[in-house]
């Protein structure tokens, strides 16, 4: 074998290493986004960086290869998109362009996932391009005659998976104890995380964790009852938000608290009692709201749900029923004869009349329930949005009628990289790399019934 010259070896290896370094540098540059503005655009017809194909597939039609038209058509809504920017940004603006009867007009509704564990979407007041956005005023709730009690009370109830509670406290200790059971129905570890936030703050005051029971298999071997406590001393007067984050394998079997006023914010999943109790008990609650979405996962739990004087027959498992009570005002009695039902309402659920209060603004927008508006774009603060289990931001576009899409743009923004904020820019990249993904419920986002 002929010996290669030293100079050739040196130069060729250097060139090869340089090629790798250049590629890494270019990718790094794209991930850092030094300009502070990342535009992700899709016309739905071809895969684009950072954005998923829209789902569910039954709500849009792609152009055929032999068709004259080259644009996709939305035939129903909402249509969901997952977008995963490469580093952290402050704000995103979603813009949708479509053609209708040859004229350019705007979309109907645009929403963004704001809670990953109860599928809540934030729907901004949609506006035509160029109009200024009116931000809603901060809503402050106060009791005029609230007296702290402090005594611990335990409620036995079977709740499944993640829940968000709102509790009132005034110069008193906040204390919650959840007695949980891991039913191990699905493969994977099932830790529990509880966080308490004051008002609408994005940063929690305190966090508590309970590790998996040690059985990560999906063998349906239920664990012993285990408790997780959360305490925050001398809480100033305000509404506190408590997030109980867990997978659908985790059941709350009892709830002990010192708070006299606490409610479940818009979502309550009454769990089944399989593997815990032989007889499913009838459950009586209090709810306030006039739009309900309910679904039961099991055929054994088909039942009649009674809210106030109205009843809803749930005849099929896994079918999402929606019913409206346009005249409902104030708290209503809600009765489930068997439990095992997941419920959402544009208001709150309470375990008793004593615990009931409703600190939410009167005009509550939930799961796309926004008043009709002509929309072209909507902006969201990313700190107010949640991520999916895959780390993506999830958006939906809900056309009022079938429409042809020109393009959908997601513009992520943050301050441009300058000498003074270089480290901050790099921190935004590293925060994405090291961020924690929380367990969520089983992914049923794209159900045709939703």
């Amino acid at each position: 074998m002929t010996k290669l010259s030293r100079r050739y070896v040196l130069v060729s290896r250097l060139l090869a290493a340089s090629a790798v370094v250049v590629v890494v540098a270019l990718i790094f540059g794209r991930a850092v986004v030094p300009g502070g503005k990342l535009v992700v655009s899709t016309d739905l017809t071809a895969p684009e960086p950072y954005v998923s194909q829209p789902k569910p597939s039954g709500r849009f039609v792609l152009p055929d290869a032999d068709e004259v038209a080259t644009l996709a058509r939305l035939t129903g809504g909402p249509v969901y998109f997952d977008v995963t920017p490469p580093s952290a940004f402050d704000r995103v603006t979603v813009t949708e362009h479509h053609t209708a009867n040859g004229q350019r007009s705007a979309a109907a509704e645009i929403g963004a996932l704001s809670s990953s564990f109860d599928r809540r979407f934030q729907v901004k007041a949609a506006r035509p391009l160029g109009a200024s956005e009116v931000r809603p005023q901060e809503h402050v709730f106060r009791f005029t005659d609230y007296v702290p009690n402090g005594a611990l009370r335990t409620t036995n109830i079977s709740l499944r998976g993640s829940h968000r509670l709102l509790a009132y406290a005034a110069d008193e200790d906040i204390f919650f104890r959840f007695t949980t059971q891991d039913m191990n129905r699905e493969l994977g570890a099932d830790p529990v995380i509880i966080r308490v936030y004051r008002g609408s703050a994005a940063t929690p005051l305190i966090e508590s964790r309970l590790a998996d029971d040690g059985n990560a298999a999906g063998d349906q071997a239920s664990s012993e009852l285990r408790t997780i406590d959360l305490a925050w001393p001398r809480a100033e007067e305000d509404v506190y938000r408590l997030e109980f984050i867990a997978s659908g394998d985790i059941f709350i079997r009892a709830l002990t608290t010192a708070q006299t006023k606490f409610v479940f914010d818009g979502h309550l999943y009454l769990g089944d009692t399989v593997g815990y109790s032989a007889t499913p008990p009838a459950i009586s609650l209090v709810a306030q709201g006039n739009l309900y979405d309910v679904v039961t996962p099991h055929a054994e739990a088909t039942q009649r749900l009674v809210v106030g004087g109205s009843g809803l027959d749930i005849d099929e498992p896994l079918r999402r029923y929606r019913f409206a009570l346009p005249d409902a005002e104030g708290p209503q009695r809600l009765r489930s004869s068997k439990g095992d039902i997941e419920m959402e309402v544009n208001g709150v659920f309470a375990l008793s009349e004593e615990a009931f209060f409703n600190p939410l603004p009167a005009a509550r927008l939930i799961n796309g329930g926004v008043a009709s508006a002509v929309a072209a774009m909507a902006s969201f603060e990313l700190s107010e949005l949640a991520r999916t289990n895959d780390g993506a931001y999830r958006f939906f576009i809900d056309p009022k009628s079938a429409m042809t899409v020109e393009r959908i743009e997601f513009v992520f923004e943050r301050p441009m990289m300058r000498p003074g904020n270089i480290f901050e820019t790099f921190r935004r990249l590293s925060s994405v790399l090291t961020e924690e993904v929380f367990p969520g419920p089983h992914d049923r986002w794209y159900d045709e019934n939703l």
Partner: protein
């Protein structure tokens, strides 16, 4: 091909084979980086390096290296 040309070609043959190996190895390293980046953020790396170009370069490099190996062993 004249005898002179053949002589020159044979002189640089080992360099061609080495370049082939180096090209294949470099492309392999870049491909691994691209795959990791794509797993993390789909679309991030393929916008910088085309997968088609990577495949062509890898096949070219491998072909050059293997042909030379075969000649030497033959």
């Amino acid at each position: 091909m004249t005898a002179g040309m053949m002589k020159t070609f044979n002189k640089y043959r080992p360099y061609v084979a080495d370049l082939g190996r180096l090209l294949a190895a470099t492309v392999l390293v870049i491909a691994i980086i691209v795959i990791i980046c794509e797993k993390w953020r789909p679309g991030l790396a393929v916008a910088v390096v085309s997968p088609k170009v990577l495949v062509v370069c890898f096949v070219l490099g491998l072909a050059l290296a293997l042909l030379e190996e075969k000649r030497q062993s033959g």
